[in-house]
Assembly symmetry: D2
């Protein structure tokens, strides 16, 4: 039984980690750490955890963690995580950072996050936790940068097609749609029910920090120059769920059926990727509460475009679920351990 701690215990990422870890057979959640609310009981904020919570949230003590804990999940905001992660560099702690701090090169991080980047030493030791694609690196790493929610859905849909030279590396459009929980727990106009309900709201057009993240990891899969993508993101009036509808120019004449076969082959060993059959496309509700990423595809012969639809639960495969999946891989456990439940439907 490994001992885990969550740092940043009061956001939605942490709350979902708590739910998922509760049924993990090899991990015991030993500490929930919150700098802003230590001393408080978590179920005062989250009554759905009534009877679950037995001890108050704790302050952060790095040395104590290094001594007592095996696994640390960083569910802190960008900017905070990189400092904490650096403290574990020389320890044996397995650290999963759910923020964006360790996802980009220093220069890109500075430009898109407008914060000071993590040290090169830290970035070099960090593996990007898109489990299905980077699991060899994940197995050997102690520090994982857990992917952003849009990048998870986008990369899982695009990488197999780019690797197989099905689509061009230029002219890829990603239309992202996310539930409001993606905007976090803080109250603002952006998360106000009366503002967001019965509404579709585009946001951060052209400026979303997930753009360079998607481009960085796509570029690792084509030889030549760097890939550029266009990403728009939209708030959808639902709590959970994220979809990327993607458009990419075809490099070759291919049928939908063959594209689907390619996907199936690519993800043959991946328990959490489900490919829809021809003529069917995933809905976000098909994956709610689960770690699945469902993918559908359509070759538009009229316009020579491949249309890809990729759906995840932003809090599971897009955050806490993938974090646990990475921990499973790092520890040599089956990637499904503690994650093999069906979606909650309807």
């Amino acid at each position: 039984m490994k001992k885990a701690a969550i740092i940043g215990g009061t956001g939605y990422g942490a709350i979902e980690l708590i739910r998922l870890l509760d049924s993990h057979p090899y991990i015991e959640l030993a500490k929930i750490i919150s700098q802003s609310q230590h001393g408080e009981l978590l179920d005062e904020t989250y009554p759905h955890l009534a009877t679950y919570v037995t001890q108050p949230m704790q302050e952060l003590h790095i040395q104590q963690l290094i001594e007592e804990i095996d696994i640390v999940f960083l569910a802190t905001p960008a900017g905070v995580a990189k400092e904490i992660a650096a403290s574990f560099l020389d320890s044996s702690i397995q650290c999963i950072d759910l923020s964006g701090d360790l996802r980009l090169s220093s220069s890109d991080y500075e430009m898109w996050y407008q914060k000071k980047p993590a040290s090169e030493a830290l970035l070099e030791k960090t593996a990007y936790g898109l489990t299905e694609v980077f699991q060899e690196k994940i197995k050997q790493a102690n520090i994982i940068s857990n992917p952003g929610c849009f990048p998870t859905a986008a990369l899982l849909g695009l990488i197999p097609m780019l690797e197989n030279n099905i689509i061009e590396s230029k002219g890829i459009m990603i239309d992202g749609k996310t539930g409001i929980s993606g905007a976090g727990k803080n109250s603002s106009a952006k998360t106000h029910f009366s503002t967001t309900n019965e509404n579709v709201t585009p946001y951060k057009i052209g400026t979303h920090q997930h753009i360079p993240e998607i481009e960085k990891y796509l570029s690792q899969h084509v030889e030549e120059s760097s890939v550029r993508v266009t990403l728009t993101t939209h708030l959808i009036p639902m709590t959970r769920g994220l979809m990327c509808t993607m458009y990419a120019p075809l490099q070759q004449d291919i049928d939908t059926a063959d594209v689907i076969d390619l996907y199936k082959h690519y993800y043959e060993q991946s328990s959490f990727i489900r490919i829809r059959k021809q003529g069917e496309y995933p809905s976000t509700k098909d994956v709610t509460g689960s770690n699945y990423c469902d993918i559908g595809a359509y070759v538009d012969k009229r316009t020579n475009q491949l249309i890809i639809s990729s759906a995840i639960d932003n809090l599971v495969k897009g955050a806490a679920g993938q974090a646990i999946q990475n921990i499973n891989v790092m520890n040599g456990w089956d990637e499904k351990t503690g994650l093999s439940f069906l979606p909650v439907y309807p």
Copy 2:
């Protein structure tokens, strides 16, 4: 490992049973039976079950079930269930009926359901599956009538107060609020998104078949005459969740704190009942996806009324979850077996 079958495999009750049984350690779901869709794969209707489903739904063969199966869940409509349940009377099958067929006396059933009632022989052998209250009878029964969703929330809130003579048995008002999944999977004006979204819709006022069910089981807890309740039900624009807000005249001068203590004491041994502390009330979201029933109370001294708020997930504690809880009790397993997960929040 016990073998289970679900009969009526395509409604929401069945779908939730499938989700929950999938993580039950002692039950294997061996057969999904559907008279209307046998031969089909369930994931054609429900793509969220993709990769889970490996064999088509089957026709109903009673004798085969008796030979091969240990546990049968009846997720069929009222009217159908009682015929099937009767076939198992002399077998060793443990049968849980999720319909209303076995919940009322013959005369009440005829009046409120306007169908021919089950045989007296069947009714006599049936235990009412409100697990927390009737577990002694459930342990000894082979046939369980699983409670309706409103009765579950209402009875769990009212019974401790009636038993302890806190409230009068006359003048109880129950204001029921349910998510649209309570109206089932069939498409109609009542379940149409454009009709029900951004809407509160009262329905079946004074005529809901859950009225006699609540009255029957409340009456078993007061000596004198029969209890009468007023129940209204409202469709709420959400998928899951059910709340009963209840009003009952106080029999004695008592404080909120004492009422809360009484509840805590009454449900001391019950894993799934959580009592809110003074000044707090449950939201339906606090129990989503879980088998919990959360209860809050307030003594309104100004009007001498007890106000009780009781929240469940209508598809879990109000249907499939309680069915499995009953099976656990019938088999001597911990009632939490396969049901000990946290709510999905947010």
Copy 3:
């Protein structure tokens, strides 16, 4: 053409007044006043008003208002309104206060709002703006206290029954359900989408400031002692809409049909009250965006209770619409002036 000003221009009450006044034939909205945001353009906060807004919001200058303006709508928070309203006491300004400041007696206000009450001089000159019931007083008043949203729905349903001695004045239960816009424009956990969506949340049980308001105006309609009601309120995952489901002990043996006839007779002259026929009940969506209050009733012979269901749009009949209806009555215009549009459906 009368000139109007709105004070407190950035809340939902003001925004709805702007929408409704825009099509009023006899009122010109001359000023929008905001102490916190004067100098700003309202469409920066509310882009749906783009092209409508031509001048910035202004500071409050009482004397200037008295000289230039005929009608003032106070859409300010409780506590602020009573100070401003007092300034108009000796002027010819018609002032409608949408806050709770002028609704209660001094002692009740102090107890339930926990603020210093308005002066007796102001309270004496104020008429309560439940248009259908108090129009004679409204015609003669210059200062109107516009009713709260729950009291509007509750009183319109209860008063005809109390006046006609159909129901008892004791044992009335009001189960209130409101859309999230009722919680206002400010961001908080209570208005957060992820918290409130897919959820029913009871709040302020036993402590809602609308309780004494309902009781005060009900009591004016029965000779004997004062009426006491039990009110609970619930947040429903919708933006607009409010329903009171009410339960009251019958004083006499009467049929549903006769109750409905009584309502129809009582509201014969009232353009905005629509009585549902026997067996039908209003949904909140039936009145969305309109000034209607729809009422349905059912005599529960089994329990000797009258069940009343009353639905309004909380921002229209529950706030801005009724405010304009009152202005119409005060000026001798048809009460429908500027308000005679159909509900927005679906």
Copy 4:
């Protein structure tokens, strides 16, 4: 006062026409015709129309209409409309067809609708009712083919850019998002609340009948060859509202500010088009219940793409509102007549 009739009186298009015509100063709605429900009162299906409806729906009698009526709105399904419209060819009736029957060339109609097309005589006399762009033709026509909901939003965003050679005519991607009312009044899995709530559902990918409609009217604005677009459509869990997020390769180096100026200039005379300022994008809620189309734009210099976001209420500008706007133009009235109300917000 012109007399109008609606044929197909029970769908959402008709219901919205009734709401809007009710406040039109020059049009009297004289007849509501329904082949399937004639003899019934419309408020039996739609209680929000209680007190509005005074006469039952009628059967269709073409000759009677020609004699008594000036304006006919066809709110019938595709396939039915073209037969009725043909009957008015030699009459003086102004006919607006809200279905897709008259929008495409015969060959395209046959291919995409898989029905027999309208006669050439009828198609030749029909003007396409995208009011802002085709008003000269609309003024001279008696028969109008009212645009589809997605084409309205897409064309209003794309045409000014194509006409001004800002974007290429190849490689245009349109990501469409619509509220569930776009799927109509009929109950099906696609409109079931429990299926569609908390969900984003792609549908008709590559096969939507709005694809050839968009292409046909875009092609009329570029000299050379025909334009091809990629369109995907998604059901969003909201009742009303439609957004097209569009991506098009830039033909020239241009700044966002200049693009916005071009839009403003193009729509200078158009009362219902509102262009967002730089850095802001429309939400569907900004136009709910109104005839506005709000447009925002962003030049993505990184990828040399123009991103356009265009939002309408699918039932107003996307159907009934635009139909009335066309009637206004045909009769020489101000296009805003009866449509100049503000959006319903929040």
